[in-house]
């Protein structure tokens, strides 16, 4: 069973709409046993890193998530929580990925970044191919809403986007994937990406 982690941190409903559209069977759950036995796990999230981590801890989910061996997809805040720490209220996060999530530095750009921006991935071949982007043209537009960003880390970054700085818009380490944008709100490209996640082995 696909589990969408329901940790009371914002808008899960649109992820559900997109999954239903893709005819995926899924449940919302915050129960550690349900999450631990899922066939794949989606961690959505808007809201603050601190509140989200508090909620995951209270529900006894932090270790369960760290130890998952099935395909995992963190969306938006769900990607940021994979890193060691977020500058947002200086919050320790799950630490699955090395690096610190930072706030966009002050510039002439508006923060949060709200809207559609290009996602450029490294094509790679065969095993190194970013399967999440199968069938999606390089540089496609995805919908972003965020004030904090994940760093570029050569061994983790799957795709990058430019806004104030260059940042990781998609990351991967083994079974853990994360995207900074909202695939559930990114039109056909986003649906394809979610579909690709559902097809991962």
């Amino acid at each position: 069973m696909i589990v969408v982690v329901d940790y009371k941190a914002g808008n899960l409903y649109n992820v559900a709409h997109a999954l239903r559209h893709l005819r995926a069977d899924f449940v919302f759950s915050a129960d550690p046993r349900t999450v631990a036995t899922a066939s794949r796990v989606i961690l959505p999230g808007v809201g603050s890193a601190r509140a989200a981590m508090d909620s995951l801890r209270e529900q006894g989910l932090t270790d369960v998530l760290r130890n998952l061996e099935v395909p995992f997809l963190g969306i938006c805040l769900g990607l940021q929580l994979l890193f060691e720490r977020s500058e947002e209220e200086d919050t320790p996060c799950l630490g699955v990925l090395k690096g610190v999530v930072r706030k966009f530095p002050k510039s002439e750009f508006k923060v949060p970044q709200i809207g559609w921006n290009n996602v450029c991935y490294k094509p790679g071949t065969d095993a190194r191919r970013p399967q999440l982007f199968d069938g999606i043209p390089d540089g496609s537009y995805f919908y972003f809403v965020h004030s904090y960003f994940a760093p570029l880390v050569p061994e983790l970054t799957v795709a990058s986007t430019e806004y104030v700085v260059s940042f990781s818009s998609a990351v991967r380490k083994e079974n853990f994937w994360g995207v900074q944008f909202h695939p559930e709100r990114s039109g056909e490209a986003g649906l394809r990406l979610l579909g690709n996640f559902l097809d991962l082995n």
Binding site: G10, N11, Y13, N14, H17, A18, R20, H21, V46, G47, F109, K110, V111, P112, Q113, I114, G115, W116, N117, N118, C120, D134, G135, I136, P137, G139, S140, Y141, Y143, F144, V145, T161, E162, Y163, H182, E184, R185, S186, G187, E188, A189, G190, L191, R192, G195, N196, D199
Partner: protein
């Protein structure tokens, strides 16, 4: 798309094109003329049509008058959320947190708050804290009164005496995530957006500003971005009457150097 930015060529955030639909009792009102649509009053069919044409977001304003009609809102919001996969905002008569919650649960991405925020500015703060600033759009209806921009409420019927620029700044400080700025002087005129107002507001706030009121032509949208410094434009009539399709508008703007999300062909998975 690549644009020149400070002498550098950069990939940048696209400017957004947002069609707006007025809904009452679950039906789109203010006629939308797509000849090939069998039911041009169904918000779901129209939403789907704009989605397919490349709209970046949609805004629905529920102008329902009666409590009875209001019950239909959740129903069509849910159906819209099931059929389009771009963000959409629902506004009109939102006065309480549980209404916001209900709309978000039904699948809306954002709510726009107007009169209720003027009556009780704390409402913006509460909504932003409860659901995040990203889903709180502060809608402001502005009219020029004796060389000053003043805020009006209740669909433009009531004057508040509030200075628009100060109110918008206050709204940003209270936690609004975006400003939907409507010029009442221009609304429905199709002579172009109030560029002076737009530019003043855009320079005054850090959050994105959506221009509304007055679009009658592609050039008006271009001006809103170039002179008005808008982050997004809202338009109703130019799309509803089929004068332009969204893709035509986007192509025109892209040709004039405005970064636009143009469709990239996604390869559908083999079934």
């Amino acid at each position: 798309m690549k644009v020149k930015y400070g002498g550098r060529s950069l990939l940048v955030l696209a400017r957004r094109i947002i069609p707006c639909l007025d809904v009452a009792g679950g039906r789109v009102v203010k006629g939308v003329h797509f000849l090939d649509l069998q039911d041009a009053g169904d918000p779901v069919l129209l939403a789907r049509r704009y989605y397919e044409e490349g709209a970046d977001e949609l805004v629905f304003l529920d102008i329902t008058a009666t409590v009875e009609e209001r019950k239909t809102v959740i129903d069509w919001v849910r159906r819209v959320a099931d059929s389009i996969f771009i963000p959409f905002t629902v506004g009109g008569g939102i006065t309480a947190l549980d209404q916001v919650q209900e709309l978000l649960r039904a699948g809306a991405d954002k709510v726009s708050i107007n009169s209720a925020a003027v009556r009780n500015p704390g409402f913006i703060d509460e909504a932003a804290r409860a659901f995040g600033s990203q889903c709180v759009v502060l809608a402001v209806d502005v009219k020029r009164v004796a060389a000053q921009w003043k805020v009006f409420v209740r669909g433009g019927r009531d004057k508040t005496g509030k200075d628009a620029l100060n109110w918008i700044r206050a709204g940003e400080d209270l936690g609004a995530g975006e400003i939907l700025l409507t010029s009442m002087d221009r609304d429905g005129t199709q002579v172009g957006y109030d560029l002076e107002l737009l530019e003043r507001v855009s320079q005054r706030v850090q959050i994105p500003v959506i221009a509304s009121g007055g679009a009658g032509d592609c050039r008006h949208l271009l001006e809103a971005f170039q002179q008005g410094k808008a982050d997004a434009v809202l338009a109703a009539s130019i799309f509803h009457y089929g004068r332009y399709t969204i893709s035509q508008v986007k192509k025109f703007l892209a040709e004039h150097g405005i970064p636009m999300r143009l469709e990239s062909p996604v390869v559908r998975p083999a079934v």
